[in-house]
Symmetry: D4
Subunit: 245 residues, 8 copies
């Protein structure tokens, strides 16, 4: 009897990742491998290609499961690749042996969190922006339940000449609106999935930011630290380029 599955393998997506090593030069954003929904082997293959063919020898992986991280570590560390994971464990930076740190652009990105529970997502945003060459000004747990905590960080943002500030908040999502009423730079609201009950999981935070009464606030999706960091760095780097020219 002939193979009953003849032809079936041919229709499956055997190597479905197209890595785009030139994205960094075209877009100014490093290639970031989105690991959710991919088998670990697929993520590994993409990382390998980018480490080899990409311009920097540095690759970010987002939404990595523990299984994916373990797969990367087991396969890449023997080849001299260094790996570092973010606080949440979901973002991984892989660096080829001999790769250099990102060039500092002079762009300055502020990162504020409303509560300590928002820190892991803020870490991802800060990390992406730093990977894109920005200097980070960071302050945590300055939320609206005790507004007196907000004064010092805002003073520091001014002193350090931040070009843009990412404000990270879950639950009520009120801090980005408050900050946006007090500073004269663009504010990116980054809602987190902290919070339970109706409007929980970041819904209320996102909606409140979308409804802000303080003009100058833009938003990204819930827990999208990567997007907030990349957008902030694009803004700050354009300012920095103008400063340099």
């Amino acid at each position: 009897m002939s193979d009953p599955f003849a032809g079936l393998a041919a229709v499956l997506g055997t190597a479905p990742v197209h890595v785009d090593p030139q994205r960094q030069s075209r877009k100014g954003v490093p290639e970031i491998v989105y690991a959710a929904g991919k088998p670990p082997s697929l993520t590994l293959a993409a990382v390998r290609t980018l480490l080899t063919d990409g311009p920097t020898g540095r690759v970010l992986v987002s939404r990595a499961s523990r299984e994916t991280t373990d797969t990367l570590r087991a396969a890449l560390e023997p080849d001299g690749v260094s790996l570092m994971t973010s606080t949440s464990g979901e973002t991984v930076l892989a660096v080829r042996s001999g790769a250099v740190a990102p060039v500092q652009t002079g762009g300055v990105v502020g990162v504020l969190t409303a509560g300590a529970s928002d820190a892991p997502i803020a870490d991802e945003a800060a990390w992406v922006a730093q990977e894109m060459g920005c200097h980070i000004v960071r302050a945590d747990d300055v939320g609206v339940a005790g507004l007196h905590r907000l004064e010092a960080p805002l003073r520091r943002l001014r002193q350090d000449k931040a070009d843009v500030v990412i404000v990270v908040a879950g639950m009520d999502g009120a801090l980005p609106s408050v900050v946006s009423g007090l500073v004269d730079i663009p504010v990116i609201g980054l809602p987190t999935s902290i919070g339970y009950g109706l409007g929980g999981g970041g819904i209320a935070a996102l909606l409140s930011m979308l409804q802000t009464c303080a003009p100058g606030l833009v938003v990204v999706n819930i827990d999208n630290g990567v997007g907030a960091g990349a957008s902030a760095a694009l803004m700050a780097n354009r300012v920095a380029a103008a400063r340099r020219s």
Copy 2:
């Protein structure tokens, strides 16, 4: 031929309002006629009964359409009843000739609004609380887009010894959380339907208040000025009664 509709009228709700004139003494809240969905004649009948049989000769009507207000005015003013409508036109106070003003209880209720657009709903809350004998401390347009505007009103709340404060906000709904982090009295968040787009119509404001990170904040539904005012007055009046005793 006999009447083809015989019996049909009998099954309709011909006089479906049961007024409850004793509610004021049992609950401490005056009878409020909810006019939405009622034919004007039904609302009129309910108001008449309460003016005659109730203990105070004063009746509040909420969610009144213009048609209902006109019906009340045309029917009641010739009988010496005085009517006053709120800013929004949806709340009406009817007062029988000779009725006296509510007894002052000594309870003090603060009412703050985030924006001027929130004022009509704040008016309804203030009105109900005053009708229940409270003194009102009011400040408007003190929202989070310019937090420096908040200092003076909070000082006045302390000076006037407010027992509870209603904070009225639409759009981002951030103000109640901010206020709740700064005062030591109960705060009632009253979301308004100001705002458009996703989370508009008061949804984001309500959800943000429900998700508040400042303990001590309770909420009522969107635009429910009547409920916020009644609850605030119940709280303040219980404090006032304790002060008197």
Copy 3:
């Protein structure tokens, strides 16, 4: 080769909790550490600081995972700190050796549940209110499926002179509206996530409370026992203070 991760650690939120030991005196609500989304080590650090620097030597932790509770127990009990967990296991009270019980204020808070499944959330509310010095009047499983069960608890609320009552209900959420129609004190509706299908997880209960036709009912979010307890105690303690003066 230099450290490929140079600078990365600097942008992470290394100690992102700002404890606020003076909150109790400013707000009248004890500091409560919200543990969701925080690594256990962060929660532990916050609890330690509050036990040492705070005014009472008593700290509440909410939304604690089992891992967090174990971390607290292992680290703090050897130092003479006592820990007690609520029925749900998610609320933890840590008390420093030598700390005294909260001063009784004289405020009285009623706590009623619709069904036995609502009890763990009711426990949290009762616990917070007691920690703020209130006397608790409690009755369980008195829901609308058998209204005759409601008579005795309401009589006790009156006899014990409750200043405010928290009514805890999942599923249909009908009990708070029923109670609010029968008592003359403020009612706080506390919806629980009991229930499945459309409107499950507490949605129907919360919405039904927001839509109540009984004025005098305010609400907190689903399963927010901490918020309900803190708000009730703020109300009751203000009445009690007036009684004492």
Copy 4:
């Protein structure tokens, strides 16, 4: 030039109503013409056919706009057809000259409303059930904000031996659950679109009924008085048929 629209008319639905005059005998429910979305002329055509070909010479029209009602009246009254509209104006009963009233089946249907605003929808339910031969036991405005109003109607339901009871409620939708805990006959919850804010338009009422903790409660959609009435009559008429046999 030939007709540029040749063939276009042929593809339009020129007479798209198929009336089903035998439905009454097959289903036990009279043909009800759903007028929403139909041009008045189409509704008129359907009514005419049913008056002529149907077994009873009586036709109900639901969700009729004023324009539809006017069209029916202008076209049918000159032919000796009598028309009666419900309180809401949206349900119309057309009766051919000489048609007799529905035969009384002996089935008994209770209809209770929580508030006076629910009465128009209750009218539709009562009307359909009566048109199907049932006796109606009706009581209005007996909602949960004052439970003492519920005693007398429940006593009457028992005295009149109701086979099923329709409980009509908007806003919090609590009454059907309360009634279902107190009676031993099937209860049909009929939510109405009374109420505003989150959960308004009948959403909270419907969800609360779906989440009932009192077994024995079934529901229909918001404002679906026709469906509640038809279902109740089907139930009551089956009981009545058993009683007769």
Copy 5:
């Protein structure tokens, strides 16, 4: 030092279940213990009381976790109590030694499922109705994807003189509307949580049933087999009682 937790235990709900052994006689529905959210020990205590004090020595438990079922089995079987679990494992029937089977009322309840995946929920409905004394007419997997499968079951419903039919369907939820257009008895739509994607988990099924264009269809919530069974039995038993009298 005194006990730092003095008084805390007193405010917790130590025995929060009020069993209601007389419900069966008052409501005609046996006491059903809702186990979700209850610690197993609480469910056990409730079952014990009902087995001892209730009129029948038979108790149903719904939404039981495996842990709860194991707890019941370990504690009750040594005392001679027999336990049986439904297909889904979530419904448990406990029967005291010597208890008799339910008295047959003569009521007849049809139970149809659209797909085989709906069978476990249908089992719960059938079980409750049988526990209330009804005869069950059952047919499975007769959904709309192959309508020819529907003929035989509908013929059997007529032959066996079903008084009411429960139609169980997930996914598109179309079957109850189709059946309701073909039979002259009341139809209860019971949506199940079968289905994924938008409208999954039973949402589309429930909404489609609520929107039915076939009058005579009432619904219960998603997966609420207990509610559907109890309602159907209430209807059928009232018919049966009329037949007997």
Copy 6:
């Protein structure tokens, strides 16, 4: 003083429509002007350009307000352009003097409606498909409340060799699933906004179709007759082309 608005007009979108007259040859779908949100003058300008530059001298306008239709009629009829509006009045066909009817492709598209209220949307789908050269097989009011009405239309679809069938349904949206279980050609479900209450406005219909248990059913959005018609014609025309070759 200089013009205070200097430069402002320059930033407004003065002629923001780019008509794409070659779309018909590239896509096989005629240019359809979507009029919602456009000032009538803009729609008129687009129609004029397409009538002049397009390959057929025929232009469809969808979602036209009455004001837009009047504008088109007043401006174009004097130039010899003929206009025809669909039943709903929202779709308009403009034909230049001398333009010829669409070439018949031989593709056959079935169009079935569940209820008469669905006819106007079905008209739009039929019209677009006919404009693309298809033959239409139409049957109305064959919904699931009386399945015997479905036999004849399905027989006609087979006799006329329909290549694809559009099934139009609001409310419960059950008919497309039923039809898809009975035919061996692709079925396009076209939900309409008929229906009120939860799941109303076409939501339940769309979700039920998305959840269909009958493979072979694809859907378009609520009331999107244009999209259903264009998709059906693309399918049928590809079959017809194969038949011709």
Copy 7:
């Protein structure tokens, strides 16, 4: 004592699957066993019957849990049945010993994915279409974040004369609209549950496809690879049949 559970087993759905081996000839779609919610033994029974009685000796199982797959493997492989699972592991093809591969129809179905994470769902669609005799043209990871990747696949679709194309996309769901603007064959949008935050789980992707501004796009539900594949094959096979005739 008699059996306390007498009669209970009789009301349970003991063999609730009705396999429909003739569906393939009637519908052109092979019988696919939907395993979600079924106990593995039930799925096994259905597969056995279809392997034996069906026309092809080939059966697809969708939404199979690992437990179900293991059950099938253990029971069927000893009988000479071969099993193959898709990339996601949720679709299983069982082939009886001696069964032949599907007859090639000549229909051509394109399958494009926006990202590599969409590949497993695309595999299911491709597999079903191939099982129905179609030739598959596949290209992966060609999404809108780098549109230059789209050129080659579209060229191949034209060269290979695809009759229909399935475009698979999660997150923003933009690719199907882009493709539909560029090709002249029907496009089936297949949203996947890739994506988190608001609009995550495939919601944004599905809604964006439903709202497409490119006519000629139809959709199936999130992750419904089986439905997309079956619909595409129905379309392509009808074209192929016309080509052959």
Copy 8:
């Protein structure tokens, strides 16, 4: 008799607007009066104060009803104030006699629309950015249904050295993701309420933008042209300031 309404007027918000003329210097965003929900007289009072006390003599009013615009025109034009309204009629610019045009900052803002229906909202964004001193690069109707239309505008953005681009899209909301994959400057997605059916009113557009797979895209709420314009100008002006220094 004394005034029955004594004290009532005192609790209403008689002058609830606090204008903040210094906001422009503090925030870099001109004061914009949000007119929704305000009586026209209140909006007028705010505009008057800002024209007199503000630094520029120019005031923007957003969400103005026709009644508000008429009130402004009637009251202000006699005083030499010039008014200009946007295409939608909802945004109004009032300029005091003698006021000068905004100083050009050198910042460059691109504005692209997907369809002509999006133009009015794009106008508002462009207007606000121009009022803040930016140069606008505008292109319309370049949406994804015909991607070839996108080349020229993107070339112009590069030639004119845009610092940021606002991409305006309703319906599927796909264009911002496509543009964000092609440019190396920040992109602000501005969803519009164009579109009907599920995901209509801008919901699908907003969700698709939030779910973008192209990093570097931030969003504002549906129809929030004012917010998009202000944010873009803040970004561009910071770049321009760096260029000047």
